[in-house]
Symmetry: C2
Subunit: 218 residues, 2 copies
Amino acid sequence: MTEIVAEEAPAHDGSVVGVLTGPNLAGEIAKGYPAATVIGMTDAAAAARLQDAFMDPAFRVYTNPDVVGCELAGSLKNVMAIAAGMAKGLGFGHNTLASLITRALAELTRLGVALGGNAGTFAGLAGMGDLIATCQSDDSRNNRVGMELARGKRLEEIVSELHMVAEGVKTVRPVLELADRENVDMPIAEQVNRVLHEGAHPREAVLTLMTRRARSEL
Amino acid sequence: MTEIVAEEAPAHDGSVVGVLTGPNLAGEIAKGYPAATVIGMTDAAAAARLQDAFMDPAFRVYTNPDVVGCELAGSLKNVMAIAAGMAKGLGFGHNTLASLITRALAELTRLGVALGGNAGTFAGLAGMGDLIATCQSDDSRNNRVGMELARGKRLEEIVSELHMVAEGVKTVRPVLELADRENVDMPIAEQVNRVLHEGAHPREAVLTLMTRRARSEL
Protein backbone atom coordinates (compact mmCIF):
# COMPACT_ATOMS: atom_id res chain seq x y z
CA MET A 1 0.00 0.00 0.00
CA THR A 2 2.79 2.48 0.78
CA GLU A 3 4.21 1.92 -2.73
CA ILE A 4 0.81 2.66 -4.24
CA VAL A 5 0.42 5.80 -2.13
CA ALA A 6 3.86 6.98 -3.26
CA GLU A 7 2.96 6.32 -6.91
CA GLU A 8 -0.44 7.95 -6.74
CA ALA A 9 0.65 10.93 -4.67
CA PRO A 10 4.19 11.62 -5.95
CA ALA A 11 4.21 15.14 -4.49
CA HIS A 12 3.78 13.64 -1.03
CA ASP A 13 7.01 12.97 0.89
CA GLY A 14 7.44 9.18 0.59
CA SER A 15 9.38 8.90 3.84
CA VAL A 16 6.27 9.84 5.80
CA VAL A 17 4.05 7.29 4.12
CA GLY A 18 3.61 4.54 6.65
CA VAL A 19 1.50 1.79 8.08
CA LEU A 20 -0.18 1.17 11.42
CA THR A 21 -0.52 -2.54 12.09
CA GLY A 22 -0.57 -5.18 14.81
CA PRO A 23 -3.02 -7.27 16.82
CA ASN A 24 -5.71 -4.63 16.34
CA LEU A 25 -9.12 -6.22 15.75
CA ALA A 26 -11.23 -3.09 15.34
CA GLY A 27 -14.20 -4.17 17.44
CA GLU A 28 -11.98 -4.76 20.46
CA ILE A 29 -10.16 -1.44 20.05
CA ALA A 30 -13.57 0.24 20.01
CA LYS A 31 -14.40 -1.46 23.32
CA GLY A 32 -11.27 0.06 24.86
CA TYR A 33 -9.54 -3.27 25.51
CA PRO A 34 -5.77 -2.77 25.79
CA ALA A 35 -3.78 -3.43 22.63
CA ALA A 36 -0.32 -2.69 21.30
CA THR A 37 0.41 -1.54 17.78
CA VAL A 38 3.28 -0.68 15.45
CA ILE A 39 3.76 2.39 13.29
CA GLY A 40 5.98 1.37 10.38
CA MET A 41 7.61 4.45 8.88
CA THR A 42 11.11 5.27 7.66
CA ASP A 43 11.09 8.88 8.94
CA ALA A 44 11.86 8.40 12.65
CA ALA A 45 10.85 11.92 13.67
CA ALA A 46 7.47 11.69 11.97
CA ALA A 47 6.95 8.23 13.46
CA ALA A 48 7.71 9.58 16.93
CA ARG A 49 5.16 12.38 16.48
CA LEU A 50 2.50 9.85 15.47
CA GLN A 51 3.51 7.64 18.38
CA ASP A 52 2.85 10.56 20.73
CA ALA A 53 -0.45 11.31 19.05
CA PHE A 54 -1.81 7.75 19.22
CA MET A 55 -0.35 6.63 22.56
CA ASP A 56 -3.06 5.97 25.12
CA PRO A 57 -3.41 3.83 28.28
CA ALA A 58 -5.40 1.35 26.15
CA PHE A 59 -3.28 1.64 22.99
CA ARG A 60 0.47 1.21 23.30
CA VAL A 61 2.36 2.34 20.22
CA TYR A 62 5.76 1.12 19.08
CA THR A 63 7.63 2.50 16.07
CA ASN A 64 9.48 0.44 13.47
CA PRO A 65 11.43 1.69 10.43
CA ASP A 66 10.83 -1.60 8.56
CA VAL A 67 7.82 -0.55 6.48
CA VAL A 68 8.02 -3.44 4.02
CA GLY A 69 8.23 -6.00 6.82
CA CYS A 70 5.19 -4.49 8.57
CA GLU A 71 3.16 -4.57 5.36
CA LEU A 72 4.20 -8.09 4.37
CA ALA A 73 3.43 -9.46 7.83
CA GLY A 74 -0.08 -8.02 7.76
CA SER A 75 -0.76 -9.52 4.36
CA LEU A 76 0.89 -12.93 4.76
CA LYS A 77 -0.88 -13.66 8.02
CA ASN A 78 -4.23 -13.81 6.17
CA VAL A 79 -3.21 -17.03 4.45
CA MET A 80 -2.17 -18.54 7.77
CA ALA A 81 -5.45 -17.50 9.40
CA ILE A 82 -7.28 -19.67 6.88
CA ALA A 83 -5.17 -22.64 8.00
CA ALA A 84 -5.94 -21.82 11.64
CA GLY A 85 -9.65 -21.67 10.83
CA MET A 86 -9.42 -25.14 9.30
CA ALA A 87 -7.81 -26.51 12.47
CA LYS A 88 -10.60 -24.98 14.55
CA GLY A 89 -13.31 -26.17 12.18
CA LEU A 90 -11.92 -29.71 12.47
CA GLY A 91 -12.47 -29.48 16.22
CA PHE A 92 -8.83 -29.47 17.29
CA GLY A 93 -7.61 -27.64 20.40
CA HIS A 94 -4.91 -25.33 21.71
CA ASN A 95 -1.99 -27.65 20.95
CA THR A 96 -2.86 -27.83 17.27
CA LEU A 97 -3.45 -24.12 16.94
CA ALA A 98 -0.29 -23.14 18.83
CA SER A 99 1.81 -25.59 16.80
CA LEU A 100 0.33 -24.24 13.58
CA ILE A 101 0.80 -20.59 14.53
CA THR A 102 4.43 -21.22 15.50
CA ARG A 103 5.28 -22.98 12.25
CA ALA A 104 3.25 -20.43 10.27
CA LEU A 105 5.29 -17.58 11.71
CA ALA A 106 8.54 -19.38 10.83
CA GLU A 107 7.21 -19.84 7.31
CA LEU A 108 6.03 -16.30 6.69
CA THR A 109 9.19 -14.91 8.26
CA ARG A 110 11.31 -16.86 5.76
CA LEU A 111 9.45 -15.28 2.86
CA GLY A 112 9.25 -11.83 4.47
CA VAL A 113 12.99 -11.72 5.08
CA ALA A 114 13.70 -12.92 1.53
CA LEU A 115 11.58 -10.00 0.29
CA GLY A 116 13.53 -7.46 2.34
CA GLY A 117 11.72 -7.41 5.71
CA ASN A 118 13.50 -7.49 9.07
CA ALA A 119 13.19 -10.75 11.06
CA GLY A 120 12.55 -8.67 14.21
CA THR A 121 9.42 -7.21 12.64
CA PHE A 122 7.97 -10.68 12.13
CA ALA A 123 8.83 -11.65 15.71
CA GLY A 124 7.05 -8.51 16.91
CA LEU A 125 3.52 -7.14 17.08
CA ALA A 126 3.05 -6.68 13.32
CA GLY A 127 4.06 -10.31 12.73
CA MET A 128 3.56 -12.64 15.66
CA GLY A 129 1.06 -10.38 17.44
CA ASP A 130 -1.25 -9.88 14.48
CA LEU A 131 -0.92 -13.55 13.49
CA ILE A 132 -1.99 -14.78 16.94
CA ALA A 133 -4.94 -12.39 17.24
CA THR A 134 -6.16 -13.17 13.73
CA CYS A 135 -5.79 -16.94 14.10
CA GLN A 136 -7.61 -16.92 17.45
CA SER A 137 -10.48 -14.59 16.63
CA ASP A 138 -13.60 -16.20 15.19
CA ASP A 139 -14.46 -12.73 13.84
CA SER A 140 -11.53 -12.80 11.43
CA ARG A 141 -12.91 -13.32 7.93
CA ASN A 142 -10.00 -15.50 6.85
CA ASN A 143 -10.39 -17.62 9.93
CA ARG A 144 -14.07 -18.07 9.15
CA VAL A 145 -13.32 -19.19 5.62
CA GLY A 146 -11.08 -21.94 7.03
CA MET A 147 -13.67 -23.00 9.60
CA GLU A 148 -16.46 -23.28 7.04
CA LEU A 149 -14.24 -25.21 4.63
CA ALA A 150 -13.45 -27.69 7.40
CA ARG A 151 -17.18 -28.12 8.01
CA GLY A 152 -17.62 -29.09 4.38
CA LYS A 153 -18.90 -25.91 2.74
CA ARG A 154 -17.72 -25.00 -0.74
CA LEU A 155 -15.50 -21.93 -1.15
CA GLU A 156 -17.90 -20.13 -3.53
CA GLU A 157 -20.73 -20.53 -1.04
CA ILE A 158 -18.64 -19.23 1.87
CA VAL A 159 -17.32 -16.22 -0.03
CA SER A 160 -20.78 -15.22 -1.26
CA GLU A 161 -22.19 -15.48 2.27
CA LEU A 162 -19.41 -13.43 3.87
CA HIS A 163 -20.28 -10.29 1.89
CA MET A 164 -16.72 -9.20 2.62
CA VAL A 165 -13.27 -9.86 1.23
CA ALA A 166 -11.28 -12.65 2.87
CA GLU A 167 -7.90 -11.47 1.66
CA GLY A 168 -6.08 -14.76 2.13
CA VAL A 169 -8.23 -16.46 -0.52
CA LYS A 170 -6.71 -14.19 -3.16
CA THR A 171 -3.31 -13.76 -1.53
CA VAL A 172 -2.28 -17.39 -1.36
CA ARG A 173 -1.42 -17.77 -5.06
CA PRO A 174 0.84 -14.70 -5.39
CA VAL A 175 2.38 -15.69 -2.04
CA LEU A 176 3.30 -19.12 -3.41
CA GLU A 177 4.63 -17.54 -6.61
CA LEU A 178 6.86 -15.24 -4.57
CA ALA A 179 7.96 -18.19 -2.40
CA ASP A 180 8.82 -20.15 -5.52
CA ARG A 181 10.78 -17.23 -6.98
CA GLU A 182 12.66 -16.71 -3.70
CA ASN A 183 13.18 -20.46 -3.22
CA VAL A 184 11.41 -20.43 0.15
CA ASP A 185 9.60 -23.50 1.49
CA MET A 186 5.99 -22.71 2.53
CA PRO A 187 4.30 -26.01 3.37
CA ILE A 188 1.34 -24.48 5.22
CA ALA A 189 0.54 -21.96 2.47
CA GLU A 190 0.79 -24.82 -0.05
CA GLN A 191 -1.81 -26.82 1.82
CA VAL A 192 -4.09 -23.79 2.15
CA ASN A 193 -3.88 -23.37 -1.62
CA ARG A 194 -4.64 -27.06 -2.19
CA VAL A 195 -7.79 -26.79 -0.08
CA LEU A 196 -8.92 -23.44 -1.48
CA HIS A 197 -8.19 -23.95 -5.13
CA GLU A 198 -7.51 -27.64 -5.78
CA GLY A 199 -10.31 -29.38 -3.93
CA ALA A 200 -8.28 -31.03 -1.16
CA HIS A 201 -10.06 -31.67 2.14
CA PRO A 202 -8.74 -29.80 5.22
CA ARG A 203 -8.34 -33.05 7.16
CA GLU A 204 -6.11 -34.49 4.46
CA ALA A 205 -4.14 -31.20 4.28
CA VAL A 206 -3.45 -31.38 8.03
CA LEU A 207 -2.34 -35.00 7.70
CA THR A 208 0.03 -34.04 4.88
CA LEU A 209 1.59 -31.34 7.09
CA MET A 210 1.91 -33.64 10.09
CA THR A 211 3.57 -36.47 8.20
CA ARG A 212 6.26 -34.54 6.34
CA ARG A 213 9.80 -35.82 6.78
CA ALA A 214 11.01 -35.48 10.39
CA ARG A 215 13.39 -32.59 10.97
CA SER A 216 15.56 -30.69 13.40
CA GLU A 217 13.99 -27.43 14.56
CA LEU A 218 17.07 -25.17 14.36
CA MET B 1 15.76 -31.10 35.39
CA THR B 2 18.43 -32.53 33.10
CA GLU B 3 21.12 -31.18 35.46
CA ILE B 4 19.43 -32.90 38.39
CA VAL B 5 19.17 -36.17 36.47
CA ALA B 6 22.88 -35.97 35.62
CA GLU B 7 23.76 -35.30 39.29
CA GLU B 8 21.53 -38.02 40.67
CA ALA B 9 22.42 -40.62 38.06
CA PRO B 10 26.10 -39.91 37.34
CA ALA B 11 26.65 -43.32 35.75
CA HIS B 12 24.05 -42.43 33.12
CA ASP B 13 25.41 -40.87 29.92
CA GLY B 14 24.58 -37.15 30.33
CA SER B 15 24.40 -36.53 26.58
CA VAL B 16 21.29 -38.69 26.33
CA VAL B 17 19.47 -36.91 29.14
CA GLY B 18 16.90 -34.74 27.42
CA VAL B 19 13.56 -33.06 27.49
CA LEU B 20 10.35 -33.38 25.49
CA THR B 21 8.46 -30.09 25.43
CA GLY B 22 6.17 -27.90 23.35
CA PRO B 23 2.48 -27.00 23.02
CA ASN B 24 1.49 -30.34 24.52
CA LEU B 25 -1.48 -29.98 26.85
CA ALA B 26 -1.87 -33.60 27.97
CA GLY B 27 -5.66 -33.81 27.72
CA GLU B 28 -5.59 -32.79 24.07
CA ILE B 29 -2.77 -35.21 23.22
CA ALA B 30 -4.90 -37.96 24.76
CA LYS B 31 -7.78 -36.99 22.48
CA GLY B 32 -5.52 -37.45 19.45
CA TYR B 33 -5.61 -33.82 18.35
CA PRO B 34 -2.58 -33.00 16.20
CA ALA B 35 0.35 -31.39 18.02
CA ALA B 36 4.02 -30.77 17.39
CA THR B 37 6.74 -31.25 19.96
CA VAL B 38 10.47 -30.83 20.48
CA ILE B 39 12.98 -33.33 21.81
CA GLY B 40 15.85 -31.34 23.31
CA MET B 41 18.96 -33.50 23.52
CA THR B 42 22.63 -32.94 22.75
CA ASP B 43 23.22 -36.43 21.34
CA ALA B 44 21.85 -36.08 17.80
CA ALA B 45 21.77 -39.82 17.09
CA ALA B 46 19.82 -40.59 20.26
CA ALA B 47 17.47 -37.68 19.55
CA ALA B 48 16.83 -39.02 16.04
CA ARG B 49 16.00 -42.47 17.43
CA LEU B 50 13.50 -40.94 19.85
CA GLN B 51 12.10 -38.79 17.04
CA ASP B 52 11.43 -41.98 15.06
CA ALA B 53 9.88 -43.67 18.07
CA PHE B 54 7.47 -40.82 18.93
CA MET B 55 6.61 -39.58 15.43
CA ASP B 56 2.94 -40.15 14.62
CA PRO B 57 0.37 -38.59 12.28
CA ALA B 58 -1.03 -36.75 15.33
CA PHE B 59 2.32 -35.99 16.97
CA ARG B 60 5.00 -34.31 14.89
CA VAL B 61 8.43 -34.43 16.52
CA TYR B 62 11.28 -31.99 15.94
CA THR B 63 14.74 -32.36 17.48
CA ASN B 64 16.78 -29.55 19.00
CA PRO B 65 20.27 -29.74 20.56
CA ASP B 66 19.59 -26.70 22.78
CA VAL B 67 18.56 -28.51 25.97
CA VAL B 68 18.94 -25.51 28.27
CA GLY B 69 16.83 -23.34 25.98
CA CYS B 70 14.07 -25.95 25.84
CA GLU B 71 14.01 -26.28 29.62
CA LEU B 72 14.10 -22.54 30.30
CA ALA B 73 11.32 -21.86 27.82
CA GLY B 74 9.05 -24.41 29.48
CA SER B 75 9.67 -22.92 32.90
CA LEU B 76 9.61 -19.19 32.05
CA LYS B 77 6.32 -19.45 30.19
CA ASN B 78 4.51 -20.30 33.46
CA VAL B 79 5.06 -16.76 34.74
CA MET B 80 3.74 -15.30 31.50
CA ALA B 81 0.68 -17.58 31.63
CA ILE B 82 -0.29 -15.94 34.92
CA ALA B 83 -0.21 -12.55 33.19
CA ALA B 84 -2.32 -13.94 30.34
CA GLY B 85 -4.83 -15.28 32.84
CA MET B 86 -5.09 -11.82 34.40
CA ALA B 87 -5.86 -10.28 30.99
CA LYS B 88 -8.56 -12.89 30.42
CA GLY B 89 -9.98 -12.48 33.92
CA LEU B 90 -10.24 -8.73 33.34
CA GLY B 91 -12.45 -9.50 30.34
CA PHE B 92 -10.07 -8.34 27.60
CA GLY B 93 -10.00 -9.92 24.14
CA HIS B 94 -7.69 -11.25 21.46
CA ASN B 95 -5.79 -8.01 20.89
CA THR B 96 -4.73 -7.79 24.52
CA LEU B 97 -3.76 -11.43 24.74
CA ALA B 98 -1.83 -11.42 21.46
CA SER B 99 0.00 -8.22 22.41
CA LEU B 100 0.88 -9.68 25.79
CA ILE B 101 2.06 -13.02 24.39
CA THR B 102 4.25 -11.26 21.82
CA ARG B 103 5.92 -9.00 24.36
CA ALA B 104 6.16 -11.91 26.85
CA LEU B 105 8.06 -14.00 24.32
CA ALA B 106 10.47 -11.11 23.64
CA GLU B 107 11.00 -10.80 27.39
CA LEU B 108 11.58 -14.46 28.17
CA THR B 109 13.81 -14.81 25.11
CA ARG B 110 16.07 -12.02 26.41
CA LEU B 111 16.56 -13.88 29.68
CA GLY B 112 16.79 -17.29 28.06
CA VAL B 113 19.52 -16.17 25.67
CA ALA B 114 21.42 -14.47 28.51
CA LEU B 115 21.33 -17.80 30.35
CA GLY B 116 22.77 -19.70 27.37
CA GLY B 117 19.69 -20.69 25.36
CA ASN B 118 19.42 -20.32 21.58
CA ALA B 119 17.06 -17.59 20.31
CA GLY B 120 15.72 -20.04 17.73
CA THR B 121 14.49 -22.34 20.47
CA PHE B 122 12.39 -19.55 21.97
CA ALA B 123 10.97 -18.69 18.54
CA GLY B 124 10.03 -22.35 18.09
CA LEU B 125 7.63 -24.86 19.55
CA ALA B 126 9.26 -25.10 22.99
CA GLY B 127 9.11 -21.31 23.35
CA MET B 128 6.46 -19.58 21.28
CA GLY B 129 4.36 -22.72 20.77
CA ASP B 130 4.16 -23.71 24.42
CA LEU B 131 3.63 -20.08 25.46
CA ILE B 132 0.65 -19.63 23.13
CA ALA B 133 -1.03 -22.90 24.10
CA THR B 134 -0.54 -22.28 27.81
CA CYS B 135 -1.74 -18.67 27.67
CA GLN B 136 -4.83 -19.65 25.68
CA SER B 137 -5.91 -22.72 27.58
CA ASP B 138 -8.23 -22.18 30.52
CA ASP B 139 -7.05 -25.58 31.78
CA SER B 140 -3.54 -24.27 32.43
CA ARG B 141 -3.10 -23.94 36.18
CA ASN B 142 -0.99 -20.79 35.89
CA ASN B 143 -3.56 -19.24 33.62
CA ARG B 144 -6.28 -20.03 36.15
CA VAL B 145 -4.32 -18.38 38.95
CA GLY B 146 -4.18 -15.18 36.89
CA MET B 147 -7.88 -15.32 36.04
CA GLU B 148 -8.93 -15.80 39.66
CA LEU B 149 -6.65 -12.98 40.83
CA ALA B 150 -8.25 -10.66 38.28
CA ARG B 151 -11.67 -11.63 39.64
CA GLY B 152 -10.57 -10.52 43.10
CA LYS B 153 -9.67 -13.79 44.83
CA ARG B 154 -6.70 -13.90 47.16
CA LEU B 155 -3.65 -15.94 46.13
CA GLU B 156 -3.76 -18.23 49.20
CA GLU B 157 -7.37 -19.07 48.48
CA ILE B 158 -6.69 -19.84 44.81
CA VAL B 159 -3.65 -22.01 45.50
CA SER B 160 -5.45 -24.03 48.18
CA GLU B 161 -8.42 -24.62 45.86
CA LEU B 162 -6.29 -25.70 42.90
CA HIS B 163 -4.92 -28.77 44.74
CA MET B 164 -2.06 -28.61 42.25
CA VAL B 165 1.14 -26.65 41.82
CA ALA B 166 0.94 -23.51 39.69
CA GLU B 167 4.65 -23.31 38.96
CA GLY B 168 4.73 -19.68 37.96
CA VAL B 169 3.73 -18.56 41.46
CA LYS B 170 7.03 -19.91 42.77
CA THR B 171 9.10 -19.29 39.64
CA VAL B 172 8.57 -15.55 39.34
CA ARG B 173 10.95 -14.55 42.14
CA PRO B 174 13.97 -16.59 41.02
CA VAL B 175 13.22 -15.45 37.46
CA LEU B 176 13.43 -11.82 38.52
CA GLU B 177 16.62 -12.52 40.47
CA LEU B 178 18.18 -14.08 37.39
CA ALA B 179 16.96 -11.16 35.25
CA ASP B 180 18.52 -8.73 37.70
CA ARG B 181 21.81 -10.64 37.71
CA GLU B 182 21.87 -10.77 33.90
CA ASN B 183 20.74 -7.14 33.59
CA VAL B 184 17.67 -8.12 31.55
CA ASP B 185 14.51 -6.00 31.58
CA MET B 186 11.39 -8.09 32.39
CA PRO B 187 8.48 -5.68 32.82
CA ILE B 188 5.73 -8.31 32.53
CA ALA B 189 7.33 -10.67 35.07
CA GLU B 190 7.79 -7.68 37.40
CA GLN B 191 4.10 -6.89 37.27
CA VAL B 192 3.17 -10.54 37.82
CA ASN B 193 5.34 -10.50 40.92
CA ARG B 194 3.74 -7.27 42.15
CA VAL B 195 0.28 -8.81 41.84
CA LEU B 196 1.23 -12.20 43.30
CA HIS B 197 3.43 -11.12 46.15
CA GLU B 198 3.02 -7.38 46.72
CA GLY B 199 -0.75 -6.92 46.67
CA ALA B 200 -1.04 -4.92 43.43
CA HIS B 201 -4.33 -5.25 41.51
CA PRO B 202 -4.16 -6.85 38.03
CA ARG B 203 -5.92 -3.84 36.47
CA GLU B 204 -3.30 -1.48 37.82
CA ALA B 205 -0.50 -3.85 36.70
CA VAL B 206 -1.88 -3.79 33.14
CA LEU B 207 -2.07 0.00 33.22
CA THR B 208 1.55 0.19 34.38
CA LEU B 209 2.64 -1.98 31.45
CA MET B 210 0.60 -0.02 28.92
CA THR B 211 1.88 3.38 30.00
CA ARG B 212 5.61 2.69 30.09
CA ARG B 213 7.80 5.04 28.07
CA ALA B 214 7.08 4.80 24.33
CA ARG B 215 9.70 2.88 22.37
CA SER B 216 10.88 1.62 19.02
CA GLU B 217 10.19 -2.07 18.48
CA LEU B 218 13.50 -3.11 16.93
